[in-house]
Amino acid sequence: MSEKVLMKGNEAIAEAAIRAGCLHYFGYPITPQTELAAYMAKRMPKIGGTFLQAESEIAAINMVYGVSSAGKRVMTSSSSPGVSLKQEGISYIAGADLPALIVNVQRGGPGLGGIQPSQSDYFQATKGGGHGDYHLIVLTPASVQEMADLVSLAFDLADKYRMPAMLLADGTMGQMMEPVELPDEAPNMIEKPWAVTGTQMKREHNIVNSLYLVPEELEKTNNERFERYKYIEENEARYESFMMDDAEICVVAFGIAARVSRNAVVEARKQGIKVGMIRPITVWPFPKKPLAEAADKVKSFISVELSMGQMIEDIKLATSCKKPVDLCYRVGGMIPSPEQVLESIKKAAGGNE
């Protein structure tokens, strides 16, 4: 690892992507992720890469589709309304079984919404987002260091499973600066025998496509894809467990909500309340196993979100509704305070005595 530097989360994503071997970036500016595109605009021409500001988000994601078909690491980034525009292309990329990285530095919605931080694209990110049966691997960084670390992981997983991955961040994570150590190791590039790179008259044509007019064939591709998803759900869920050993209340939060909740958990412990936190690092695949295990031990869960309550549904599913799940939230660009989370913890502790 190199020396620690201070970087904005958005810049850390960009630099980490370049170091992960991504030399092709397509995007369209939008607050609060514009620094990412600006960083790419500055760096890519110097290292022989591509930075292209497309005419729209839809154009950008289709450029990603094209470059990925050719077997190159490629990414785009945007914020909530822009990511909605990309959904058609993302569905095509998933349908064509192509790897790619899509970064969503979320802001408040729906509609044009606002420009302050939010996590209200959770459903869109984890349940598919576009049309058809598909998933993205969705990673949720909670520090600038993780912004960098999860980028290379996202590229690796996307390549390995031939599917798009999303980095689901928010305005705070994108704008804040923290010390970060960027990886020095050479990226893990794998062979992509399916890529459309020209046959040199030496092999059969590769075809990259998401159109199957014969329903039996389309059904087969869907089933194959879901076999892969099943394996990913069993093997790639990631999370961090904090003070869970003797916890009677389990806070579940990711990204900025987890950072705020951590303060509340530490403070509640000082007051003698047995509370811990499970922080999903992937929200698809969702860390079902640790939550199911926690459901046998704790009295209740609290889902802390910057949404009206979206992840709470996955918590209920993962725990088979064995224990009550409270919701602690702010929306529209507002962020719950540690005091608000602490109140929820106290209420849960009191209510169960």
């Binding site: 607050t31 302050q116 704008q175 804040m176 600066m177 540690p338």
Partner: protein
């Protein structure tokens, strides 16, 4: 030990830069830290602020809602944040631009005519660094030793000629 600081003023006064400078100094001291700017449709003359947390432990929430240290460079910022400072905390006021005194008596307050001092040393845009010099002196949020190393990190090579005047501004505040 954890110090939560809020720096606020008009856009263009260098409040984000001042916070970034502190953050780099904390980094050089091997501290844990976070720096979070306000962002939005802001411009020169609009309000701007940043949250800086310096700690010996990993930083939880990067948002400072109850600052231990408040540095304000315009009246709207003092009006907005004065009541949020924790009892026993510090408030640093640019008294050239803010004429009123603070209302509370449970915090330590320092009035620094930073904008005037900046003009006096022929560095009219560096009131922010004069304020920071005083903040470091009184709070010890970061040590003052080797402070020029942190300047190397935030003043780009293209503007290397501005390092000396930044250092002078810091020193002016530190010794005020």
């Amino acid at each position: 030990m954890t110090t939560q600081m809020l720096i606020a003023g008009f856009g263009g006064q260098g409040v984000l830069f001042a916070g970034k400078f502190l953050a780099y100094k904390a980094l050089l001291e091997d501290k844990q830290l976070s720096w979070l700017p306000s962002y939005g449709p802001e411009m020169r003359g609009g309000t701007a602020n940043c949250s800086v947390i310096v700690s010996d432990e990993p930083v939880g929430s990067p948002i400072v809602s109850k600052p231990d240290v408040l540095m304000v460079m315009n009246l709207p910022s003092l009006d907005k944040y004065e009541d949020d400072v924790v009892p026993g905390g510090y408030i640093f006021v640019d008294s050239t631009l803010i004429e009123r005194k603070i209302k509370r008596d449970d915090v330590k307050v320092f009035y620094i005519p930073a904008t005037k001092l900046a003009k006096d040393i022929d560095a009219p845009t560096l009131a922010n660094m004069i304020m920071i010099g005083k903040v470091i002196k009184e709070t010890g949020i970061v040590p003052y030793d080797n402070i020029d190393k942190a300047l190397d990190k935030v003043v780009s090579a293209r503007k290397a000629n501005l390092k000396e005047i930044n250092f002078k501004a810091l020193d002016t505040g530190y010794n005020y």
